[in-house]
Symmetry: C2
DNA sequence: AATTAAGTTAGCTAAATTGCTAAATAGACT
DNA sequence: AGTCTATTTAGCAATTTAGCTAACTTAATT
């Protein structure tokens, strides 16, 4: 279960155009990230997820992207794995599941009437 | 369907402690908002959702709460309905459904393997 | 051992955000 | 008409955010 501060941190991480696009990019994996499609497909994942490759696709300096990625990692929406001197990045699917569940519960509770509704007879 | 900018706007609206708490407060409806529990329960909803009543529960000035609510309304996460000179506020359940669906789809696509995963054999 | 490659940290600036108070607006009620 | 209630707008200050370049660290390669 995600506590309030963690949820806020997650929303904050996704509530910025640059980070949102980076996140989409990471989530799309190899397809969106590949800059050299002459490489064999098996190699795409490795290419796709390293920081400098992500940075190349944005009009921002590498340290800027690096800082955004750190913020996203701290929010647990991505996982960064060091492999040799590269860092591989993937979406944190467990967090996505938690967030999905959180909104589903909200909607369910609302529809079950646990939550009050303003009715226009007032 | 929510476009990218709208999604970012929604996450931004929820990515702030004050707004997040206001949102929770609105979602909880009458219970959380009621400051006079001697009033009949039927009256709770009306009390609960007006701006000044929400503001009373936070250590912030009313205009501050008002501006936060505007931001949340612009993001379509709440609905503000004018009734006489009060404004009633309720969560926008349609937006919550869309967001829930958006994360569910993300997870589903990931689990169906549409999205690449980094595997440790690299 | 030196060089190259991949990321991070530090320090700066500009812009955006979040709070405030005071003043303005809109509507309801005497 | 005048007053009260509910909310918004304007303008200000403090803080945070988001970008940059330059310098540093770490690890791989020559």
């Amino acid at each position: 279960m995600l506590n309030m501060d963690k949820k806020i941190q997650i929303f904050k991480a996704l509530g910025n155009k640059t980070r949102f696009k980076i996140f989409q990019n990471i989530f799309m994996g190899g397809y969106a990230c590949c800059i050299d499609d002459t490489k064999p497909k098996d190699d795409l994942i490795a290419q796709a997820t390293c920081i400098s490759t992500i940075a190349e696709q944005f009009d921002f300096a590498l340290p800027t992207i690096s800082r955004h990625l750190k913020e996203m990692k701290d929010a647990d929406i991505i996982i960064m794995t060091k492999n040799k001197n590269k860092i591989y990045i993937e979406p944190n699917i467990e967090t996505m599941k938690e967030i999905a569940r959180c909104f589903e519960t909200l909607v369910k509770e609302y529809e079950d009437g646990i939550v009050y509704q303003y009715n226009n007879t007032n």
